[in-house]
Amino acid sequence: MTPRGDAGRPGPGRLSPGRLLGRWLGRYGMLAVGGGIVLVMSLAALCAPWLAPADPTALNVDAILQAPGALHPLGTDALGRDVLSRLLWGGRVSLWVGFVAVGLSVAIGLALGLAAGYFGGLVDEAIMRGVDVMLCFPSFFLILAVIAFLEPSLTNIMVVIGLTSWMGVARLVRAETLALRGRDFVLAARVAGAGPLRILFLHILPNALAPVLVSATLGVAGAILVESSLSFLGLGVQPPMPSWGNVLMEGKDVLTVAPWLSFFPGLAILVTVLGYNLLGEALRDLLDPRLRG
């Protein structure tokens, strides 16, 4: 990984190929690594049905807790299921949860942020105070309680994560809207007779999307972490459906005899979340040169 910011340091004289490479890596290295990880992980998840060597839920009493080997590249679990297959299918769950939850939180955040920024006054006050309340929430407690009450299911997890994570987007969008509201092109649109909805969605929203994209990318990473934590506690995706979190939970019980069962799912989470974080940071740098450190 390369640090940001020092790529532009001028070297003495003409740039050597090595320096050029360094400069390119400094500017796009993070994007390449992050984007690469996200791409590979997404492809692996999408192609799970074809890539997985075995049925992720097929029990095999003859191959219980086998160490990684030729037949089972990442070993088998306590029920003889192939860990690689379970991780590939689990990746689909993580990805799905990440995208739907973030989609929901962005939708809520956009709507509230636009309304608060554009209408101002009491609307703004009410919405932003609501944001403050939500930020003070011990939200993981609430998520846990709600999921436990509603029966842990994929839909419930996605909805609850989405409903408790929109505050950042709402703030961003509000700030952007406030800044854009007084600009000439918005004024021109208003003079031309455009209604608030038209102004908001056609003129303000497109200009406010860049930070939202960054926030959404980072949000996917966060949602994946929450989902795997819930599954790890047994309140997330329910077995036999595999998810990285619940494979890890099953691995915890056999840590002494089968450490690989705990190692690989955690690694998958780490790498994926790292990928989304890197991609988000790189996008931020590319989309908003002002923020380059």
Partner: protein
């Protein structure tokens, strides 16, 4: 309820960049790194003492409103969700009749309208009565919480202090040597720290240090025979049991905090007065620690307040992995048993701690900011 009269202060600590939706929730991470984001939260200059008092009053009023908001939402969500605490004792028990179930619900007051239940609960809360647990022991919720509070609270405070002690120097060094080897290494570590699921780190450490090389006890709070130990032995035993959990707690918030410190320090180092200080030949140490550090610490203080909910949430996971009898574990048990008063008690406590953290951060901000101190006549 809406806040009447005075608007909340212009710069509540929540003006710091919000964390990423989920990650922040989990492990006290103040969100992914945001290098270079303008961090200097603007605090309006306060001309006189009464101004400060007014601000404090508005802040306190605001805290009451937020607190009520949190309790209303929690109460509604928990009570409206399908299922009931009586399920455990009735539907799962073949001998329980419908009549027994109704009687049980009446006993807990669950048959009354929701707003009445809430009013009842709130008025009892005002008298510091959290109600009785619905589990079979029927002990007061407050007693159950109090016996577990020291462990969780102590761990959180200890990890916050440790985090600050490690993250602040790292952040300063990274900012000073921006782009150099140290900064690069720290950046790599920060990104890994952000992506590391706490429960996985815990399992890895358990495997390495408790199973492969059995140096530390694998879980629990005390060893067998704890009662017979002397004071120092007990202390050593506790320390051995708490080393790993503390490490996992601290690791979780380290990345965010050091990144924040770095960004904030970079912002300050760019200022003209730093250039002036260096130009007039002040030693490096003086410039960094006297001129830059205090200003750079301000945003970090506000982040501390915001990281409380994450720490509380993280305790559920860490305590469940290490089998520590803390609040997180209690909450988990309460949720599984649908013990309404216990769940509400925990949520209220979590909210109170969060609000207290925010208030403390605000006060600390005031103490650290020369502009506010000057306004009170104590500054230079």
């Amino acid at each position: 309820m809406t806040p009447p009269g005075p608007a909340p202060p212009a710069a509540p600590p929540s003006d710091a960049p919000p964390g990423s939706p989920g990650g922040a929730v989990l492990s006290g991470r103040p969100g992914p790194p945001r290098p270079g984001v303008a961090l200097g939260a603007e605090v309006p200059y306060n001309g006189c003492m009464s101004e400060l008092a007014k601000r404090l009053a508005a802040k306190l009023l605001w805290i009451v409103v937020v607190f009520l908001g949190i309790t209303v939402i929690s109460f509604a969500v928990i009570h409206l969700a399908p299922g009931s605490p009586t399920d455990m004792q009735t539907t799962l028990n073949p001998e329980a009749t419908a009549e027994a179930r109704t009687r049980l619900e009446a006993l807990y007051g669950l048959d009354r309208p929701l707003h009445e239940q809430y009013a009842d609960w709130l008025s009892r809360l005002a008298r510091l009565d959290f109600g009785r647990s619905m589990s079979s022991d029927h002990r007061p919720v407050w007693d159950k919480i109090v016996e577990r509070l020291p462990l969780t609270f102590g761990m959180n405070v200890a990890s916050l202090v440790l985090t600050l002690m490690i993250a602040v120097p790292i952040g300063i060094a990274s900012a000073w040597w921006q782009g150099r080897a140290f900064d690069r290494a720290a950046t790599v570590l920060v990104f890994i720290g952000f992506a590391m699921p706490g429960f996985w780190l815990a399992l890895l450490l358990m495997y390495a240090l408790c199973i492969h090389w059995p140096l530390l006890p694998i879980s629990g709070l005390t060893s067998y025979g704890f009662e017979q130990m002397g004071f120092w032995e007990r202390l050593a035993d506790l320390a051995r049991h708490l080393t790993l959990p503390l490490f996992v707690y601290t690791f979780g918030s380290l990345a965010g905090m050091s990144r924040f410190m770095r960004a904030s320090m970079l912002e300050v180092l760019r200022q003209d007065y730093i250039l002036t200080a260096r130009a007039k030949g002040l030693p490096l140490r003086t410039v960094i620690f006297r001129h830059a550090l205090r200003n750079a610490l301000l945003p970090v203080i506000t982040i501390l307040g915001l990281s409380v909910p994450g720490l509380i949430g993280g305790s559920v996971i860490i305590e469940s992995i290490f089998a520590l009898p803390g609040l997180g574990q209690l909450f988990y048990q309460g949720v599984m048993a649908r013990d309404y008063p216990l769940i509400m008690g925990n949520l209220v406590l979590g909210a109170l701690l969060t609000l207290a953290g925010n208030l403390l951060a605000d006060v600390a901000y005031g103490l650290a900011d020369p502009r506010i101190r000057a306004a009170r006549g104590g500054g230079r």
